[in-house]
């Protein structure tokens, strides 16, 4: 689409939208958000870019191909499943690690890895669809 306003706005917005998508994603465990919502939002941001500049350009900008993204998503899902099996707990049991940095506590967990997998799969799926159709 050839529109100066869209082009300019997209350039500025894209980064913001992606950061917001990550924000939605990370707060997901405690506030509304999470892998599905963050993923949809992030995919929406890149879709906007693809609409403005074309799928090829969008693909170059994000570098990683949608199918690879889906593959990494699967890897994350499986890792989160297998991690607890190392400590002899059933597949997909949540494992937690709490780190204290001064006054902020950081929670690392296998459900977080799981959610990363969800995020990557959702983004990969939507981009695979949008990119293929946009190229037509």
């Amino acid at each position: 689409m050839k529109s100066l306003i869209l082009h300019t706005a997209t350039r500025l917005l894209m980064a913001l939208l992606l950061i917001f998508s990550l924000f939605l994603f990370f707060r997901g465990h405690d506030e509304p958000g999470g892998g599905f919502i963050g993923g949809l939002f992030g995919a929406g941001a890149i879709t906007l870019y693809a609409l403005a500049f074309g799928a090829e350009k969008a693909q170059q900008t994000i570098r990683i191909s949608p199918l690879t993204m889906i593959a990494w998503g699967f890897v994350a899902l499986i890792i989160s499943g297998i991690l607890p099996m190392i400590v002899n707990e059933p597949f997909l049991t949540g494992q937690w690690l709490f780190l204290d940095f001064a006054d902020t506590e950081v929670k690392l967990s296998s459900p977080l890895i799981f959610d990363i997998g969800v995020y990557l799969c959702v983004v990969g799926f939507i981009l695979a669809v949008i990119f293929s159709l946009e190229e037509e």
Binding site: D30, E31, P32, F36, L40, V122, F125, I126, V129, S132, L133, E136
Partner: protein, 130 residues
Amino acid sequence: METLLAIIGGALFAAGIYMVLRRNLIKAVIGIILISNAVNVLFFNLGRLTKANPPLIWEGNTLPVSPFANPLPQALVLTAIVIGFGLLAFALVLAYRSYKELGTVDLDDMKMDPVEVSAEMRAEEEQVNQ
């Protein structure tokens, strides 16, 4: 509001079924969207509506403030929405591809004589064999 939501569900379902029964492939795909919305509403409704609090636990508490909305149907519907979208994307692209291949979106025109199809497949096979 449960009554109204039930009627909304029924109306969306009826609209979806009607569209799925159309000859036009695009309309059938739109019917699928409507039906999946109807089913989502059904789930949400059956989990009972609560206007009060969302199923979130405030910082410092260990339990959500009662009364709170039922989280279980929400989790179910959330994934259902995303899966419904996946289905829609696939159906749309399939419709698009068949239009490209066959040059029509009329489901009746897409129908091929089975005898012709098998003859065609046999010819293709022979081509491959050669």
